[in-house]
């Protein structure tokens, strides 16, 4: 469960003055639901998700993730969150197994349970072939599988994906989307940020459109289209971010 209330992040900037990376963002996500955060580059998606993952501290507002407060209980929040972003890379000099085990240990997992968990994840994600190869020698698809295993090792209740398909080929991107759906099927609470309309339309139960740090509108795809009076999500998005006029 995620509950964000008026979540705001202001970045000081000497030249441009204070910049509101996220401005009073409020939404909630229930278990078994995928919440899509749709926005252009620099709209505030990453800032919002980083606050939920406790990588950034909110300037104001509040949020609870899996029942823990992001400001008062950041360590507990991270213990219940799996975070995957295009910017979360792997340690090139570690093997895929060492990488996953390292994050398992950081999550306080005991050795026998961790070994069993890594074996189960390797079987589930079909990692057996490259589990003991260094991450520097893995293909993009193998790296994504390793990142997913790293994200899942402690079996988090909440999954946060920040543009996870950015720069990936179609096949790898499809496997990521399939995996996100599986998370929903297992009852996980999922937040998924993207700027790709088709991804949001196909995947998300609820979509929040974010622009200039503000959440302009949120609802199911059908609700968004009905409220905006547009035929598809792209038109709806353009209308919302351009202040009412669809192209």
């Amino acid at each position: 469960m995620i509950e964000a209330r008026l979540l705001t992040k202001v970045f000081p900037d000497r030249q441009r003055g204070p910049i509101r990376g996220a401005d009073a963002v409020s939404f909630s996500v229930a278990p078994g639901q995928i919440y899509g955060l749709l926005g252009a580059n620099g709209a505030g998606k990453t800032t919002t998700l980083r606050m939920l993952a406790t990588l950034l501290r909110p300037t104001s507002g509040a949020a609870t993730v899996a029942g823990f407060d992001v400001v008062a209980q950041p360590d507990q929040v991270r213990a219940h969150v799996g975070f995957l972003a295009a910017s979360t890379a792997l340690y090139a000099r570690l093997t895929a197994r060492e990488m996953v085990e390292y994050f398992g240990r950081l999550n306080g997992m005991a050795a026998p349970a961790l070994r069993a968990r890594v074996a189960a994840l390797a079987a589930e994600l079909d990692m057996g072939e490259f589990l003991d190869r260094r991450c520097s020698d893995l293909s993009t698809g193998m790296k994504q599988k390793t990142s997913i295993a790293r994200m899942l090792v402690h079996d988090p209740q909440v999954m946060i994906f920040d543009e996870p398909t950015l720069g990936l080929d179609v096949m790898t991107a499809r496997s990521i989307l399939r995996f996100v759906r599986e998370c929903r099927g297992r009852g996980k609470t999922v937040v998924y940020s993207t700027h790709v309309m088709s991804e949001a339309a196909k995947l998300c139960d609820v979509i929040g459109v974010i622009h200039a740090g503000k959440l302009c509108e949120q609802g199911t795809l059908a609700e968004l289209l009905a409220r905006s009076g547009t035929p598809d999500l792209e038109e709806c998005f353009i209308k919302l971010v351009s202040g009412g006029a669809a192209a």
Partner: protein, 404 residues
Amino acid sequence: MSWRTIFTIYGKELRDTLRDRRTLISMIAIPTVIMPLLLIGAGEAAATIVSKARAEVPRVMVIGGADSPGIRAALEKSGKFRVEDAQPNWRALISDKRLRAAVEIPPGFEQALAAGAAPAVTLYDYQGELKSGLAAEQLEDFFVGVRTKATTAFLAARGLPPTLARPFEIRQKNVAPPEKVGGNLVGGVVPYFIIMLCLIGSIYPAMDLTAGEKERGTLETLLCSPAARTDLVLGKFLMVLTGAFAAVVFSLVSLGATLMVVGSALGAGALARNGGGPALPAIDPLGILGVLAIVLPVAVLFSAVVFSVSLFAKSQKEAQTYLTPILLAVIVPSGVALLPGVDLTLGLALVPIVNVSLACKEMLSGVWHWPYLAVIFGSTLAYAAAALAWAVRMFRREDVLFRT
């Protein structure tokens, strides 16, 4: 703070670092190789250069002295010089190293000498140039011989004994124990290298674990874990400290092994010149342990500073830019022990790096000023603690962690 988490992070960083060739070079290879190179290579090279210079028969020129043919003939006859014909550009020839030295003989020199007057000869050399200096030295020896001969002849002609001009002899003998001679000779150089290696040993792991992780995107992955920020800093910091301390340990082990196996070229040479004595050990072995102990807080200080500065950088390249001035700033204080006549005082015992440089020199010479050592250890530890607190503070700053 969880020690289990700290050691999990440290264990991973150690494994990761041991797979990084660049860090291994700065942490192990360079410190291990530099001491034998310094003690044997540099000593041997210097000895070879000096002996080669001494073996050369220098070209010298006699300026003037046309009316004193005996002096020129004696110079040629000595076999120690190749006497060139006088040329007006003799100064340029010395500068161009085509001539090693020149001697100016005043008019009527031999006549004045016979009359008991005190004429002056002038020697010309190129100061700081080894072969020129040696040639001038040889010329001086030659003219001192001429002077002694003239004095002896003068006294003999008057029925006086030669001891009248040299009533007693002066002998110089060494009373310093071997390790003090060796310590004084290499005691300034060793701390300099130890301190510099300690810094260099910390630089690569620090850059790799901070700016390098930012650049590669792994820092954000790590920040997603439930590990507390303080645990992350301490785990990573321990790895940087390991790099710094490993560089010191490898260099000291290499130093000890070099001294044990081949002896100290510098120390042994000095002892031989001072009347012999045992060649080993030329450095107090306890001093090596003392250096190891006193360098530990310096390693903490360097590791924390280098860690914080590297963390601030966006990339390893930027970190290198920030760390270069630090490297240069450490060169001067770490070389203080090389300066002659600088001794430990209470004031200097509080100056970071300078204090350790001087203390290392003393300990390697077998001198143990316990009150000063306590002040140095305590003050360096305090500086190190402040630097570590700064590193922890830096790791809590979002604008530093996400400065990409």
